[in-house]
Amino acid sequence: MKHVYGWLLLTPAAILLVGFTHYPAAATLFDSFFSTGTAVRPSRFVGFGNYAALAEDPIFWQVLGNNLWFALGTIPTAMALAMVMALWVNQRLPARALVRMAYFTPTVLPMIAVANIWLFFYTPQIGLLDKLGALLFGAPSHNWLGDPDLVLPATMVMVVWKEAGFFMIFYLAALQSLPPELEEAAKIEGASRWYFFRRVTFPLLMPTTLFVLVNATINSFKLVDHLFILTKGGPDNASSLLLYYIYQVAFSFFDTAAAATLTVVLLVLLAVLAVAQFLLIERRVHYR
């Protein structure tokens, strides 16, 4: 009887999960072996043809590279900032609640709204960044979002701003769970604050760091909303990311086979990260 009840309770959720997660994932894999059908030419089996075409697609490699730089540029910076923020608001800082609120606020704002605001900072000449640059340093105007060399870093700065406060709360939780005796002991021994951080706090935060690292990496593949406002992936795909490219290929170029193939690549990347997460976190990497 317990078997029946168990499955009965699970059924409604299971139907939706299979319908919108497992089935579409399997169908995507299946579709990636077929060509895109048109009115004249129906879809047909092409084996690994779509994958071969993808390997030849320079935009795919560019976008994948962008994703890598995007992850490398945002994650360590945001995490380092998050750790500093957490250390600050964990101390007897005047107006601590206000400071903590300031750090965290970007997290609750939608990326679309954030990008709307930042777009104006980056606008050449009339934008705030150029105005400030001209006023303070007499710097010439930059087309921040129009220059292929500047556009990815420009979006990364905004994402660091958006994410650091979110990572901060995990460090804050970890710091608050550290026994206060450690700090007392260090103080009695006369250890400097920097020494204490380097030899005690930082190593003890290692599990949190790994946890945040893996989650941030997974997240970096899903953060694409800002591109719709700021750059549309341009110029020349210089700021495009994998998920945004999937969207373009599927809904602007209507090449569903290529989009399915790209989605499979994204799914494989996420699966690899899932395994990494399992190995690093489920097995608990503890400081010895």
Partner: protein
């Protein structure tokens, strides 16, 4: 408690405040631009008179009330379905022994990694087949069975002492009665945390709603805001700021009022 806490050096306090100011400045700037005429968007006169004209314009340029209504319907619909579905499934995983349970649980967890927005291409096709393209139900449906919710509630239900369940059974409760009278009330903090995270997530969600909607009657705030704020739309900066402020203010006000609860919920959501 923490008697030994050191007071931090003045320089560090200054740096912490400066960073806080820097972090708030984009938002403060948006407020400045929204409440002043467009000419003042880039030069600051502290005593310039405030105006609500930008809000009035934004309100008429774009169907904000409709988008707001859509978002409220969407968020409410998703959350209520999630609460029911995840409670039932979480209860099944926490307290029932059934064939294939561990495999089923593993399959549920797959969704933590493969969120519906990753599968936009295929999910769009499914919605087309179901005739749900351009409906609010179509936006919400893929998110209703949330792996994260199931996981969170399973963990919470597992901590409920068996004795309480046994006592309720002696009193004559069936298995659904036990769920409603024992498990659900005891999991109230989990429901609150989950609810906050779910509402914030779907209030801010963009990619899937963009893909699946194409009319004013279904588009949520984020999608409406993206169309409104696009450079092609030619709307001036102050009005875009006003629109942006309008779109974020409900959630922002909620956050400012329940800061601690928000941060704790987001943390719980991250740690799982």
């Amino acid at each position: 408690m923490r008697v030994f806490k050191t007071r931090i050096p003045v320089l560090e306090t200054g740096a912490a405040w400066l960073l806080a100011l820097l972090w708030l400045s984009p938002l403060l700037y948006a407020f400045w631009a929204a409440f002043h005429p467009a000419e003042l968007a880039t030069h600051f006169e502290p005593l310039a008179p405030l105006t609500l004209a930008n809000f009035a314009k934004a309100w008429t340029y774009a169907p904000f009330p409709r988008h707001l209504l859509n978002t409220v319907i969407l968020v409410t619909m998703i959350l209520s379905a999630q609460l029911v579905l995840c409670t039932l499934a979480g209860y099944a995983f926490a307290r029932f022994e059934f064939a294939g349970r561990d495999i089923a649980f593993g399959l549920v967890l797959v969704q933590l990694m493969v969120m519906p927005e990753v599968l936009i291409v295929e999910n769009y096709r499914i919605m087309a087949r179901l005739g749900l393209v351009d409906t609010i139900l179509g936006i919400g449906l893929p998110y209703m069975a949330s792996a994260f919710g199931i996981f969170l509630l399973r963990q919470t239900f597992k901590t409920v002492p068996r004795e309480l369940e046994d006592a309720a059974r002696v009193e004559g409760c069936g298995f659904l009665g036990v769920l409603l009278r024992v498990y659900v009330p005891l999991a109230r903090p989990t429901y609150l945390a989950y609810g906050l995270v779910s509402v914030s997530y779907h209030w801010n969600n963009f990619l899937w709603p963009l893909v699946i909607t194409n009319s004013i009657e279904t588009r949520p705030l984020t999608v409406g805001l993206a169309i409104f704020g696009a450079p092609e739309s030619g709307v001036d900066w102050a009005v875009i700021s006003a629109g942006t402020i309008m779109a974020v203010s409900p959630l922002l006000v909620a956050f400012l009022l329940f800061q601690r609860q928000f941060m704790q919920s987001f943390m719980q959501a991250g740690i799982k």
